[in-house]
């Protein structure tokens, strides 16, 4: 019956030729490899010719980052860190500097260190630290990634800090639309009181009032809070035209699923028609494929920390 419809042997093994389905033969596998190389090329080229088209969807907020950080500290028997305006300003400056000079590092290509931003924001410190994150989709994932990285966890759980500042800034880095998160820790050198709860609330409120444009300049009246008159890039949701994480996961699932179905059909039809073939082990191929998808799906976390 099936032999009347030869095109079905694109999907099913051939009983007389004793070969795998056409779509599992060497030529087809080579084609899949070339298609994947093409996709890789496209994903690398688009950011150069059309910056911002590809990106990482995100919805990160300073208040959630602060809550997450302090929750982890409290769970480990440490005091909460208070949001400080100077450290916030330093974090904002660092994030904008990274977008402006297209880099992602603790020390800028021009040699500017994190401590330069802290000192420029008039924060005279005895201890200071910096954590960076990019391409994450939620505040929870950012804090979790920092906590899971030994060097970043050291900052999160350090007893040397009393205050903290965050920046969550959206922009285009290396051609990809993304969100950079900067976390600055500090302890003032002088024995002055740490940032008050009112100061913290004022900073958080100012973030909540940021309109929806990508970058906004917030100027707070000098009478109310002269120290807060700096550029605030409010945290907004990022929705790029093509979300890289979703796109790559979909392609992986599509190609793996297609090969999985072809291999399953190969096993089923070969047994049904008792087709003896000199080819690779289809069960082993399926095991390898399934483990790859499991690895990509569960182990691939979006975002990077530095």
């Amino acid at each position: 019956m099936i032999d009347k419809y030869q095109f079905l042997h694109h999907f099913l093994p051939h009983p007389t030729k004793k070969k795998r389905a056409v779509l599992l033969q060497h030529g087809a596998m080579l084609t899949y490899a070339l298609v994947l190389v093409t996709f890789l090329g496209i994903f690398r080229t688009i950011p150069r010719v059309a910056p911002g088209v590809l990106g990482y969807a995100s919805d990160i907020s300073v208040s959630d980052l602060l809550k997450g950080t302090n929750k982890i500290r409290n769970e480990n028997g440490l005091n909460s860190l208070r949001l400080n305006q100077s450290l916030t300003k330093a974090a904002e400056a660092k994030a904008h500097h990274m977008f402006a000079h297209n880099y992602w590092a603790h020390v800028a290509p021009d040699g500017t260190t994190p401590w330069d931003f802290v000192l420029d924001s008039n924060y005279d410190y005895s201890y200071a630290g910096e954590n960076l994150a990019k391409n994450f989709d939620s505040s929870n994932d950012v804090v979790k990634a920092w906590f899971n990285s030994p060097s970043h966890r050291e900052n999160l759980l350090s007893t040397n800090y009393d205050e903290i500042g965050f920046a969550v800034v959206n922009g285009v880095l290396d051609g990809y639309e993304t969100t950079l998160v900067v976390q600055m820790f500090g302890r003032p050198r002088a024995a002055i009181p740490v940032a008050s709860k009112e100061e913290e609330d004022r900073i958080l409120t100012s973030y909540e009032t940021v309109p929806t444009e990508a970058t906004q300049v917030i100027t707070i009246s000098p009478e109310k809070a002269p120290e807060l008159a700096f550029n605030l890039a409010g945290p907004q949701e990022v929705l790029p035209a093509v979300d890289v994480t979703t796109a790559t996961r979909s392609i992986t699932l599509l190609v793996s699923g297609f090969l999985f179905i072809l291999l399953a059909l190969d096993i089923w039809y070969s047994r049904r028609r008792a087709i003896p073939r000199l080819s690779g082990n289809a069960f082993a191929h399926i095991t390898f494929l399934v483990m790859t998808v499991v690895g990509v799906w569960f182990a691939l976390t979006p975002g990077k920390v530095l």
């Binding site: 490899a33 994947l36 082990n281 082993a284 095991t287 483990m291 690895g295 976390t301």
Partner: protein, 84 residues
């Protein structure tokens, strides 16, 4: 009988791939290490396939290229996922 003879080799494959998945999860916050783990996994699978068929005295050029191409396709899938 044939299946019984294959069991030790399938066991070695499963253990090896299980370790690859474990290390991928272990390095979940280090994409470079994850990609290297994935590449090692693809090479491991290709070599396993070749040795598996050689031990059964069924290794041919067609089977050799089947494992090489399959390993290549899976590696490209990983490369696509881990480098973007």
């Amino acid at each position: 009988m044939k299946l019984t003879k294959d069991i030790p080799q399938i066991f070695i494959l499963t253990i090896g791939l299980g370790l690859v998945v474990f290390f991928m999860y272990f390095f979940r916050f280090d994409k470079n290490a994850q990609l290297i783990t994935g590449a090692v996994g693809c090479i491991y699978y290709t070599v396993w396939g070749i040795i598996h068929h050689a031990l059964k005295e069924r290794l041919s050029m067609a089977i050799f290229f089947e494992y090489v191409l399959f390993g290549l396709v899976v590696f490209l899938l990983l490369l696509l996922s881990f480098t973007l």
